[in-house]
Symmetry: C4
Subunit: 194 residues, 4 copies
């Protein structure tokens, strides 16, 4: 019961992160179709980050759903995760405005790695509060393998952007997103039977 | 019960979308009554979008009220809807600043169409979770006809803005809004008896 | 029970209105104490509006607490109130930046009048949903007299700003605020016994 | 039960304060690693304030958890606290952009003092509503000693910034933060047994 504020506060931060990113889509001067063209990379970068934050929200929802009791360690692990996610609008804007330049893509790639580590820490802290295993906790534990693979792919995207081509990194980012949008059958079943 | 976070997150996004639009109403230089005049189209565009987002919030409220169980498909259909709605502040600002120029009105008209499609997808996903029909679910199904008509009118507003006159499109936008502000008697009755 | 989303959405809008006003307090250039001085009227205008929105939140809290059932009329009356309140950051910024110039004070004074009317409409719609009178509903009905007096004082502040002195209007604004910060004994008692 | 809106509104304000601070991290021009360097003090100042607001959120969560009944005095004491916290983005931006200049550090130090006083007032108002002491209320009362020490250290940081070195003040700010991130064993135990 006492986790409702942790959820409400996190939902507020998620909602604001996902919405203020759109402020980087600045109203262009002029009214021809042509003035929209330079906004395309900014829009692409917005879509990528919107999906990224959405994936985190969905997983945060599943994970915190299993939490039985809030303690200070969980609160701080959650704050740590929200801190890294709060940097998304900045790196998204920088990458979009500069048309996916290699340095900006490499910096962008750092945020998912740090968020991934923070999510794992939060996940471990929440696991410590379990008194028993449920199908949902087992399904989440299983999805941690997917999380490790995602982090490896994001880590690979950084040298790829710098030394090969930022476009390849963008493909890696999109692949990870697709991997997460396809719902896990285990988690679906566990949610259904709860 | 587990839909409370879906509602809270959506409410947060709705609240931010509706409020950051007002940031486009930039504080003018000077203090005469005259400096307020150029803000009038921006203000008109703000009112139009405020009502548009408000209509979506009211319908989202009715629809999600009938949802019994959250699954990943519903979560992603909801995210998809919020994505299109999040573009409202951008198109509102562009249209307002450029005094309802025809290209900006046409671009503005795309968002309601895409939001309408997203709402229909969400509605279908939620219908799949029903185990039984209630008066409210029947009333919502009935209001889908109204939704299809709205989308047709919005679609008609795009060529109208480009080839006839953007003012006619604005009239279409206002007509759709009026159609939704008048509450549906079926939904009212269904809410009363629940 | 089904009013929780109306509250959550309104709380989100109130929270954003009260917080984005501070964005008008722009980080000044330079680091001497002197650069803070031109910010003083902006800060004064921020304090005034913070208290104004806070008063509305407190009264909205009491009023909606008495609501038993949400219907579309209540939803739209609430949206109407939030619309006028959403203009507060704009009029606050304009008045603050221009050092309480008479035209800006007069425009500022319009928002409380329109918000006051919207609050009365919402209050009437909520009264229609009552099935019985409670001490709280009676206390709120009593406080409507206070609301009418406030609106009269705000209305008086507009010609006062234009033809006498904007400072006198500011005193009127502060007086109304003080009148509302002092808690109503009837409402306190009613809340205690509920 | 009727405190849920107080929590929801406060969570909204906390979430917005913590997130809009990141808007001060403006997207730099250029794409070399070098353009990120001038952002480092802004980033440092962001981290400091993020932790500061997070500490307040955690303590607000514990404190309001003990509240049994909302009255107008509690509402206004809470608004007073949120007012001072709402100034954090402004002082954070000013300090970060000016590379921790002594005047900006001194002004920054004022906000924690005023927030500390506001938190104490809120804490006293909430204590008045207690009908009995619980382990949690005792643990919170104990942590007030920590709060007084924090305020003394923040007060000391102001002359330190002006007459010794702003770096020493920054060390004081960090020390206070560390003191609060380490969870209080009393509060943890009290939360566990509730």
């Amino acid at each position: 019961m006492n986790k409702s504020r942790l959820e409400a506060f996190s939902d507020g931060v998620f909602a604001i992160i996902i919405t203020i990113m759109v402020l980087e889509l600045k109203v262009p001067e002029g009214t021809s179709w042509a003035v929209l063209k330079p906004l395309l990379p900014v829009f692409g970068s917005y879509i990528l980050s919107f999906i990224f934050v959405a994936i985190y929200w969905v997983n945060h929802h599943h994970l915190v759903h299993t939490l039985r009791r809030v303690n200070s360690r969980v609160m701080w692990a959650n704050m740590h995760l929200l801190f890294w996610l709060s940097l998304i609008p900045f790196v998204t804007g920088w990458m979009g405005v500069n048309n996916f330049d290699k340095v900006t893509v490499a910096v962008y790639g750092c945020v998912p790695i740090l968020s991934g580590i923070a999510f794992t820490i939060l996940s471990n802290e929440i696991c410590r509060t379990y008194k028993e295993q449920t199908p949902l906790t087992r399904a989440i534990a299983k999805s941690n393998v997917k999380a490790i693979w995602s982090t490896v792919l994001y880590a690979a995207a950084i040298p790829t952007a710098l030394y090969i081509h930022p476009g390849v990194s963008a493909v890696l980012f999109v692949s990870v997103s697709v991997m997460w949008i396809i719902p896990s059958k285990d988690i679906e079943k566990a949610l259904d039977h709860e």
